[in-house]
């Protein structure tokens, strides 16, 4: 136990110390070359402040078109595609939406096992695809059918994949919507979320080393950005100087989880500064804004050999997939409110105002497209499935002995129990 006197002396000493400390701190803090690795310059401060995130001033959203399809007055140095390109973009959006309706309904009728629509995100997909070079490598998540469509994947190829028939490029191995095309530089999709991000970074590094005029673009949702692979990818891309466009489709929902339960910062774009990555936030329902953002992003990654993070603000109007009913977690009013912001209608209004399209064109194109797609659907549905032996192919470059043995044992089994297996 200390005596009262000693305690008092100690208190006085502490006070003196504090006073001295305050006096010596009157010399102004200054800026110095940093001794801390990885930090360029550092300011010292004598103010103990907590650095609150600046959530009150969200990063603005770049847009060119207003909700009624007029070009905003103050748009500077934007690029408007040639008329025929504009029409190609519009037709791709409409085609995508018609194909979605047919394939969605076919799943409901039990014709295919699964489907995911792109409803509401047509502008983000087609606009970004139009801004790329055809040899840029695309890594998708699963809601990028429009990108592939714009690159030239035919409705027939989409349907072959959804049926897993003999002409499916993926040879019937994956669930519907897991598309891929070597010729169109679109890496085959996989179901695990966000795994494509660090892979896309690796491909970008490869392109950088080979000095070809190619970048990679990788698509993902705002939900996917919560996975560890997103952090890995941002950090690798930045530290290893990779020419890659991270394209986030912030569509408001990861299945049922709303975006405000996915993050607490200013969306996905706010991740950029933390990794030292440049960013653009764009109106994902404005096809011209998305197109211009990707053009500019591409130029940036190629000239700076640096990554860029693009956040397209949009809304998933459809259900997550055919296994989901989104009315269980969001109101019809909310969906209706976004129907007014339909990116196809918005773009159509622009085309109409410029006499590039009209209602009559719309009716004819829709009718013709539907007819054509229904025919293709009927053909794809009737094609055979690949031979069951295909199950053992492509596990390895060459079939190893253990798989040959297993294939032979299945052959033997089927010869005895053929009635219980689908006929080829």
């Amino acid at each position: 136990m200390y005596s009262a006197e000693i305690m008092l002396k100690r208190l006085i000493n502490i006070k003196l110390f504090k006073k001295q400390y305050m006096l010596s701190s009157t010399i102004p803090a200054n800026t110095e070359e940093s001794v801390y690795r990885g930090i360029n310059k550092v300011n010292y401060t004598s103010n103990l402040d907590i650095n609150e995130p600046s959530l009150n001033s969200p990063v603005p959203i770049f847009r060119i078109l207003n909700d009624t399809g007029d070009i905003l007055n103050n748009c500077k140095s934007i690029i408007i595609p040639e008329n025929n390109e504009l029409i190609k973009m519009y037709k791709s959006m409409v085609l995508l939406s018609i194909m979605d309706k047919i394939l969605y309904e076919s799943q409901r009728q039990g014709r295919i096992s699964f489907y995911m629509t792109n409803e509401g995100e047509e502008a983000a997909q087609i606009g970004s695809a139009a801004g790329l070079n055809s040899n840029d490598l695309v890594y998708g998540q699963y809601r990028e059918a429009g990108v592939l469509l714009f690159r030239g994947f035919t409705p027939e190829q989409f349907m072959n994949q959804c049926f897993g028939n003999i002409d499916d490029l993926g040879k019937g191995k994956q669930m519907p919507v897991h598309y891929g095309s070597k010729n169109l530089n679109f890496v085959t999709l996989s179901s695990p979320l966000t795994t494509q991000l660090p892979q896309a970074v690796g491909s970008a590094y490869s392109f950088k080393r080979s000095k070809v005029d190619r970048c990679t673009i990788v698509y993902f949702g705002e939900g996917a950005s919560s996975e560890g692979d997103a952090h890995a990818a941002f950090n690798f891309a930045s530290t290893l100087d990779c020419p890659i466009i991270f394209f986030c489709r912030n569509n408001g929902y990861a299945i049922s989880t709303p975006a405000n339960e996915q993050y607490r910062g200013d969306g996905i774009v706010s991740h950029g500064p933390g990794y030292g990555i440049a960013t653009i936030r764009v109106d994902g329902n404005d096809i011209l804004a998305v197109y211009n953002s990707v053009l500019k992003a591409r130029e940036y990654v190629m000239t700076h050999t640096r990554p860029i993070l693009l956040e397209a603000m949009t809304y998933r109007r459809g259900h997550h997939s055919t296994s989901d009913d989104s009315t269980a977690y969001r109101s019809k009013d909310e969906i209706k409110q976004w129907s007014i912001k339909n990116p196809i209608i918005r773009f159509k209004q622009l085309l109409e105002k410029n006499n590039l399209w009209n209602n009559q064109n719309d009716v004819e194109y829709e009718k013709e497209t539907k007819k054509q797609l229904m025919q293709l659907f009927a053909i794809a549905s009737k094609k055979n499935k690949p031979n069951w032996r295909e199950m053992f192919n492509d596990v390895y470059h060459e079939i190893p002995n253990n798989l040959l043995e297993q294939m032979n044992s299945l052959e033997d089994h089927i010869s005895q129990y053929s009635d219980h297996y689908p006929k080829q």
Binding site: K173, V187, P198, G202, D229, T239, L240, V395, P400
Partner: protein, 368 residues
């Protein structure tokens, strides 16, 4: 993911032990059996396993301009020195550090391979590879299959140190090969020596399938062979019969091969038991035929590995022997392995499937 102190303390220990010349502590559970000296593959020089691995990567980097080596601390030579001198020779765009993130390293490596680059990734310890399990199992292993062969990542090789080292405890000692053996599409290889490490690593790097190359870390310095200076490849998916015998077949891989070689000598000398010793070499896809041929001849089999018993790869081999060699068996198939515990620290000598446990099993099976 893991403490830097742990990683570096191991290196410090390693360095200290080398300096003191007290390798005894490491080699207490096995005697290294050097590879026979041969000039078949050209001029040789004395190399330990890390130098042999370094030589393999050096060859690849010099011959294939579209090849890269990367991982944590790889730039300065790696914590086990496997990449030493490579950055100086080939530049920092080809031999480089990555951020500390295993799932990033493997994912990045897959992407490199997809774009046509030969990717040699290092994961600093096999114990820390689990954050990359998704990238390895769901991505690398399935890339070719799921795309109908449109895309593949066969140019990816992941190197990683594994197995007991004398004092590595739970997180610097694991032998996790069987986890990955459940992922069709991967090739999984573990060398037993400096000489095989170089030849097998070169094969893995050039194999058109993604490979995981497990390097038993205790042998980095301890395993010294006359290693050919030139380029050579050793066959994957092929087990090797190292000692021919009549009475019992002993199957192992990595460090455990040396335990089995020593125990075969003891069994022969002290008990007149003739053991056939097989190094499995490739865990996936494994060489069933060589194992079955041997067991049909000897009628008895022991599979031995450091990893825990339950779900270990020994279980797979035992089941397969039972199916293929049932009528030839003179005794049950035995597994002599680590226990179903985490890898312990001060109990390491009790945990390991050492020569005495193997010897006891041999005697029991021969007298069954």
């Amino acid at each position: 993911m893991h403490s830097t102190i742990n990683k570096y303390s191991l290196i410090c220990h390693a360095t200290k032990n080398i300096l003191c010349g007290c390798l005894k502590r490491y080699s207490s559970h096995f005697v290294y059996h050097p590879e026979p000296i041969s000039n078949e593959l050209g001029k040789t020089s004395k190399k330990n396993m890390y130098q042999a691995i370094n030589s393999a990567m050096d060859l690849v980097l010099s011959k294939d301009s579209n090849s890269v080596v990367f991982g944590e601390d790889v730039g300065f030579g790696g914590v086990f020195r496997c990449t030493s001198g490579l950055r100086e020779r080939y530049g920092k765009d080809r031999v480089f550090n990555t951020p500390l993130c295993e799932q990033g390293i493997v994912g990045f490596g897959i992407g490199l391979a997809v774009a046509g680059t030969t990717a040699i990734a290092e994961i600093q310890f096999a114990d820390y590879m689990f954050p990359a399990l998704d990238q390895l199992v769901n991505e690398a292993a399935k890339y070719r299959y799921r795309s109908g062969n449109l895309f593949d990542c066969g140019k990816l090789t992941v190197r990683t140190p594994c197995s007991a080292v004398g004092h590595g405890a739970l997180y610097h000692s694991q032998s996790p090969e069987s986890f990955y053996a459940h992922a069709p599409g991967l090739k999984i290889v573990m060398p037993r020596s400096a000489l095989t490490a170089k030849g097998l690593l070169l094969s893995c790097i050039r194999d058109p399938n993604p490979c995981i190359f497990f390097e038993p870390k205790i042998m980095y310095r301890l395993a010294v062979d006359d290693v050919p200076d030139d380029d050579y490849e050793l066959p994957l998916e092929k087990a090797e019969v190292l000692v021919e015998g009549r009475d019992i077949t002993l199957i192992g891989w990595g460090t455990q091969v040396h335990v089995l070689l020593e125990v075969a000598e003891i069994a022969n000398k002290d008990f007149g038991i003739s053991c056939e010793v097989i190094d499995l070499v490739t865990i996936l896809p494994w060489d069933k035929q060589t194992v079955a041929n041997s067991v049909k001849k000897t009628g008895r089999a022991i599979v031995s590995h450091e990893a825990p018993l339950t779900g270990g790869f020994g279980a797979e081999i035992s089941a397969s022997i039972q199916e293929d060699c049932f009528l030839h068996l003179e005794s049950p198939i035995r597994r002599v392995t680590g226990y179903d515990t985490p890898f312990p620290h001060v109990f390491e000598q009790f945990y390991l499937p050492n020569k005495w446990k193997c010897l006891q099993a041999i005697k029991e099976l021969v007298n069954y």
